[in-house]
């Protein structure tokens, strides 16, 4: 079960894109001779697993380590750090080098920034007095293909950075990544943007095209016709609601990371308990491609139907001896899809055990009520109650944000009351969190009447939950 997705069916030649990234990484590894320890930041380690098999790195005498605050444990005389250019990682790197020094270890250090060198990071290295000891380079990994139709920038914190910290680095990053894509697939003639950050990204992209034009001489028609940029802020409602599709629930319950979920082996029907297995989830799996966006109930039906039809075939094969060879061949072919079916039966069953609980139904129901935005009191009291009951704070905040969004904020008295209840129930250390939510406009004091009901009706944003077939 390879985690690296098959990209043969992609509309663009994403395989070439991925191979380019592979090549660049391997050339970095090869450029440093001898045995070396490759230290990767935790998130990047996952990302790289979408680009190449880690065993490929080991061929070049590479030991793998994950960057952390702890000292580095390795025998290698050379250390290669491969980290995203984030300030917090620099302290880790500096500490590890200093720790080596205090032990009298002489090592050769290399630091490759992903995707590019950043002055601020190097400044921290200078202040920690380790900058001189490092040979610094870049690994320009901007986009990673997650699936045949998804490229990811892997910018986990961009929303927080833009909305709360005012750090718009990610916007530049987006523009740069698209510009880089243009060198492979031609200049994209149409750019549409919605939202402040997207507009800025489009502007930057435009500027980059002037500064560093993509030569169209040896390219035909641009392969990408239009790029549409959307701010997450355009729709904050959706991510606050519970997921109901198969893929959505998988992510919500089991968390999809880098195109796969990690689950207990027992869930997948294996004998050994306590062991974790990785299940890849991408469109190379034909069945998954078919059911990923369906409602869980429908998924169960589809999977069951597939299983029973094979069962019937099997019964037929067993009972009669009249099939031709080609008919048998067909049957065997269908048998090959059995492991896939089994895999999804197991996963869907596991999800069902959550989704069937009354708590889940209650949650989906209250979300629906909040979205309808008709009965303020019910919603308010529900949220008050789950705070007082000390339900998980993520659940509380998601509903509270949803409530605030659809209601255009909360009246000051309620707003302060609920916030106080949260601090009392979960601790005062959540003060900055509430402040940041307010700063981002996600939970706020009501200033004007909400336009949510008008918008949601005009744009038909709400689908009737009672008809799961529809979506």
């Amino acid at each position: 079960m390879a985690q690296i997705p098959n990209l043969d069916n992609a509309a663009l030649n994403l395989t070439a894109l991925r191979e380019q990234s592979q090549k660049e990484l391997l050339s970095i590894i090869k450029s440093i001779r001898g045995k070396k320890c490759l230290v990767i930041d935790p998130k990047l380690a996952g990302t790289l697993s979408l680009i190449l098999q880690t065993s490929a790195l080991k061929e070049y005498g590479t030991e793998l380590r994950i960057l952390s605050a702890d000292p580095l444990q390795t025998e290698c005389p050379k250390v290669v750090y491969l980290v995203r250019s984030q300030l917090n990682f620099m302290k880790f790197v500096a500490n590890q080098i200093k720790n080596d020094e205090s032990k009298g270890l002489q090592r050769e250090y290399h630091l490759y920034f992903v995707p590019r060198r950043i002055v601020a990071c190097e400044k921290i290295l200078e202040e920690e007095k380790v900058h001189q000891k490092l040979t610094i380079g870049e690994y320009p990994l901007y986009l990673v293909p997650l699936d045949e139709d998804v490229l990811s920038l892997e910018l986990d914190y961009s929303l927080q950075e833009c909305l709360i910290e005012g750090d718009t680095s990610s916007v530049w990053h987006v523009a740069k990544a698209i510009h880089k894509l243009e060198f492979a697939f031609g200049v994209i003639p149409n750019i549409r943007a919605k939202g402040v950050a997207s507009t800025k990204a489009a502007e930057l992209l435009n500027h980059m095209q002037l500064e560093d034009p993509v030569s169209m001489d040896n390219m035909g028609i641009p392969e990408i016709d239009t790029v549409i940029l959307l701010d997450r802020e355009v729709d904050m409602v959706t991510p606050m609601c519970s997921q109901l599709t198969y893929e959505g629930l998988l992510d919500e319950m089991l968390e999809i990371h880098n195109g796969s979920v990690e689950v207990d082996a027992s869930i997948m029907g294996a004998q050994q308990d306590g062991k974790k297995v990785k299940v890849p989830l991408n469109s190379s799996d034909k069945l998954y491609k078919e059911i990923r966006d369906l409602n869980l109930h429908v998924v169960v039906q589809v999977v069951r139907q597939k299983a029973t039809s094979i069962q019937q075939d099997y019964a037929e094969v067993k009972s009669t001896n009249t099939q031709s060879v080609s008919e048998l061949k067909d049957f065997v072919k269908r048998l090959h899809s059995l492991p896939e079916i089994a895999r999804h039966v197991n996963l869907a069953q596991h999800l069902q055990s959550f989704a069937a609980k009354p708590a889940f139904h209650a949650r989906v129901e209250i979300e629906q009520i909040i979205l309808e935005a008709q009965t303020y009191e019910t919603c308010y009291e529900y949220i008050e109650e789950i705070i007082q009951k000390q339900e998980p704070i993520e659940t509380v905040l998601r509903l509270l944000v949803l409530f605030s969004l659809t209601n255009g904020g909360l009246p000051k008295k309620n707003f302060d009351y609920l916030r106080r209840e949260i601090l009392h129930s979960y601790g005062f250390e959540h003060m900055p969190l509430l402040y940041n939510l307010e700063k981002a406009g996600l939970v706020k004091r009501q200033e004007s009447r909400t336009n949510w009901p008008v918008i949601s009706r005009a744009l038909q944003l709400i689908v009737d939950i009672k008809d799961p077939e529809k979506y």
């Binding site: 300030l87 601020a120 921290i124 910290e165 005012g166 009392h424 005062f428 402040y435």
Partner: protein, 831 residues
């Protein structure tokens, strides 16, 4: 065919081939003093003018390059009107003075001059040190003091041979030192293997096989010692050609392709042998056994020997050709011939090309000759033209090709013209001949004629031009400050004019010290606009280096690439502009670059950080990035920033963060009696929040937080259990109830004004956790719960006590709720 005869009359036959001497420039300006004073301008003109080859050390660059000269002070010279101080002189190949500079006195004796392949002038002094000068102004490169090439105590230079990229030096104590990177700052000389010259022996002459012709890639030095020739390289010494019994060699020259060697032996024989000395290709016995002053290859087919007044050209067969000169001569080998420089003229001696022979050869009836003739008749409106055409119609393409080719070899413009016209006459009858070939030659000739002009003085042949390439030619032109011509040529040949314009702009800035910035800027922009995508930043950097900071600032404004523009703005102290531009660029890395630059400057200048805060506070992106960075490493500076810019709430949150870090650190919290530092930080934060109007909620919360910490501490003291600090109000209450300390719980409830609703949830949950069902029941009877009996039901269900739950379910008022709970009990059991 009368016109052709006169052409061929000037040719000389050597073996079976014709050679011709073309006078390119004559007379040279320096031979008639009257013209030189007029053409050279300004200072130094008095020193430039007369050049006598016999009294000067001279170097001339190949590919029609310039000529450099310094008076040879080892010779006795009669000074006419010249100053007695020696000067370094630079002329074009056409004898036009380009520059001159005083020769530094008290230097060791000058041994030789030479040009490197990128046209830097090299001067080797007799002690083995090297001076390098940049053209066209003869400014010394890197430093004005000579770079030593020889190891100390080697006795100085006995002989030296230069080539485009290096020099080989024979020292007085018969060692060989070579450098192959003569243009770089450190030429890195290295000594070759010891040639093994005995005490009583003498090195008669030397020659070098250039590195590009040697397999190993490093030069091979040939030394004639006694009656043998040795090849010296880095690894060892090899005695060559003993079997050939040549005897002592007096003079040697390596052919332009590095494969052959011309050697003049002591008995007056000239021998041509391969450089591996495997055999003698031919030999010629000269009249004189006296070694020639100069020996040079003319192409690959003949060797020139020069004795005073006589120049002898020797070929593989037949009699040599002799030319007489009554003045000194300098032979300048080119790839396709030899230029002959005299005091009064510049000539080019080369083999007559085949196409030219076909057309102009006496009695030639070749198609090319007939075509040439036909054009002549046509111009005279003679019907013979068509007769000629009919004779050659089958071989017309060769005839046309020959005419075009021959035109390329001509220096005389009118003859180029007649040859090309002959070609066009043929083209009219021949559609299958590629017209591009004709156009290409016309283009090349236009370029060549332009640079051959005496004002420019680069007498390139077609072959030299193709070898040199147009790009290098343009490079040479701009280095000679011939920018206009360079621009015209690059436009004409469709080459990117960026190099030319950029160089021009920089030179213009250097030369225009007196022109005001605004005027100069206009002039520069006019030209820079010609070239899209040109780097204004590079020009601006040059302006800044030339001490014109204001001009640099104006120029850098026009740079479109932020990543080039911003560092430059910083280097010319335009911080505000740099900051604004970096923000506009959207590239946060550039913003950081500027921020750190300003920050660094402030810490050097010790001016108050307030200035810095003021600068960044006006610009949100810069401000936010500073904050993001400072959060990681500069807490104190950040706090100062928040306080000085009135962002008290942010300072407050920063204090809260610090207090949490204290809490996480066990040494700081559990050890100290009152959790003093932590509480103090929270209280400080509370006061900061209180000072702003908008953060009442935060202020109250911080106040409550401090209170909670105190209460929890007291609880820890009274219960002697360190389990309270760090938990929430609700958890504190629950803990109290779980511990059976109802009074403490009630006290916390009232102190923090916990609403009844929550109280019921907390208490029932806590009682259920410890399984105190009686207390739970008593609690339910106290009074009617404000939020109904739901807390009791859920507490029981969560604890898995269905029977207990059933006690309270009937009390639920909402029937819907009731049935829901019943369902839940059943489902849970089912699971």
């Amino acid at each position: 065919m009368s016109s052709s005869v006169s052409v061929a009359a000037e040719w000389d036959l050597l073996s079976d081939r014709f050679y011709r001497r073309i006078t390119i420039y004559s007379p040279l300006p320096w031979s008639s003093p009257a013209t030189t004073t007029a053409s050279s301008s300004g200072g130094g003109s008095s020193g430039v003018g007369r050049l006598d080859l016999s009294t000067h050390i001279v170097a001339a660059a190949p590919f029609g390059g310039p000529i450099a000269a310094v008076r040879d002070d080892s010779k006795i010279v009669q000074l006419h009107s010249e100053p007695s101080r020696r000067r370094l002189l630079l002329f074009s190949s056409s004898g036009h003075p380009l520059a001159s500079s005083p020769w530094t006195p008290h230097l060791p004796r000058l041994h030789s001059l030479a040009f490197s392949s990128s046209l830097n002038l090299l001067a080797l002094l007799s002690d083995g040190s090297l001076l390098r000068f940049r053209l066209p102004d003869l400014n010394p490169i890197t430093s004005s003091s000579p770079v030593p090439l020889l190891p100390p105590a080697s006795g100085g230079v006995a002989d030296a041979v230069f080539w485009g990229g290096g020099v080989a030096i024979l020292t007085e104590d018969n060692r060989v030192v070579v450098t192959t990177d003569i243009e770089v700052d450190d030429p890195h000389p290295r000594e070759l293997a010891d040639p093994g010259v005995a005490e009583d022996e003498q090195v008669l002459c030397m020659a070098v096989v250039e590195p590009q012709f040697v397999m190993s890639g490093s030069p091979e030095v040939l030394l004639a010692v006694g009656d043998r020739v040795v090849a010296v390289d880095e690894d060892g010494v090899q005695v060559l050609g003993e079997a050939l019994e040549i005897g002592p060699v007096q003079k040697m020259a390596v052919s332009p392709n590095g494969k052959l060697l011309a050697a003049f032996a002591h008995d007056g024989r000239l021998l041509v042998i391969p450089t591996d000395f495997s055999r003698i290709i031919f030999e010629y016995e000269c009249d004189s056994a006296l070694p020639p002053d100069q020996i040079a290859w003319c192409g690959l087919d003949s060797v020139l020997l020069y004795w005073s007044e006589v120049l002898l050209m020797v070929g593989p067969n037949g009699d040599p050709v002799q030319y007489n000169y009554d003045e000194p001569v300098m032979l300048i080998p080119e790839c396709d011939g030899v230029r002959i420089l005299t005091n009064s003229s510049m000539e080019f001696l080369h083999r007559v090309p085949d196409s030219t022979t076909l057309i102009f050869g006496i009695g030639s009836m070749s198609p090319a000759a007939l075509l040439y003739d036909a054009r002549d008749h046509y111009d005279k409106q003679s019907a013979k033209a068509y007769d000629n055409y009919q004779l050659i119609s089958s071989s017309l393409p060769e005839a046309i090709e020959a005419c075009i080719d021959a035109a390329g070899y001509e220096f005389d413009v009118s003859r180029q013209h007649t040859l090309l016209r002959a070609a066009t006459y043929g083209l009219a009858f021949c559609s299958r001949f590629p017209h591009g070939r004709f156009q290409e030659m016309c283009k090349i000739l236009r370029v060549l004629n332009a640079v051959r002009d005496p004002e420019i003085g680069m007498p390139l042949t077609v072959k030299q031009y193709k070898l040199l390439t147009a790009t290098v030619l343009i490079g040479r032109l701009i280095n000679a400050n011939q920018h206009l011509l360079a621009l015209r040529i690059s436009e004409y040949l469709n080459l990117n004019p960026e190099v030319v314009i950029m160089h021009w702009a920089c030179e213009k800035i250097t030369a225009s010290a007196a022109i005001p910035d605004v005027v100069l800027l206009e002039g520069l922009l006019d030209k820079l606009r010609l070239c899209k995508g040109i780097s204004y930043a590079a020009v601006a950097a040059h302006a800044d280096n030339s001490g014109r900071r204001k001009l640099a600032a104006m120029l850098v404004d026009h740079e479109s690439q932020s990543s080039k523009q911003i560092p430059l703005l910083l280097s010319i102290d335009e911080q505000d502009k740099a900051l604004q531009k970096s923000i506009d660029s959207g590239d946060t890395d550039l913003v950081y670059l500027v921020l750190f630059h300003i920050w660094q400057k402030i810490s050097v200048e010790k001016s108050a950080p307030l200035d810095f805060f003021g600068v960044i506070n006006a610009r949100p992106l810069a401000r936010d990035l500073f904050i993001a960075y400072a959060r990681h490493s500069k807490h104190e500076a950040l706090k100062d920033f928040f306080l000085s810019t009135g962002r008290l709430q942010d300072a407050g949150f920063l204090l809260l963060k610090e207090s949490r870090e204290l809490e996480r650190n066990p040494m700081a919290s559990k050890g100290s009696p009152l959790h003093g530092p932590q509480v103090r930080l929270v209280e400080q934060a509370h006061r900061l929040f209180a000072e702003t109007k908008e953060h009442l909620f935060e202020s109250k919360s911080a106040e409550e937080h401090a209170k909670l910490l105190r209460v929890q501490h007291q609880l820890e003291v009274s219960t002697k259990q360190a389990i309270f600090v760090g938990s929430s109000v609700s958890d504190t209450i629950k803990t109290c109830i779980v511990m059976g300390n109802e009074r403490a719980a009630v006290k916390v409830k009232s102190e923090f004004k916990v609403p009844d609703k929550r109280w019921y949830w907390l208490k029932s949950c806590a009682l259920a956790t410890v399984g105190n069902w009686d207390a739970l029941e008593t609690f339910s009877r106290e009074k009617r719960p404000p939020g109904g009996y739901k807390p009791f039901v859920e507490a029981c269900i969560d604890a898995g006590q269905k029977t207990e739950a059933l006690k309270y379910i009937p009390k639920l008022t909402d029937p819907g709720e009731r049935s829901e709970v019943l369902v839940r009990i059943r489902v849970d059991t089912a699971c």
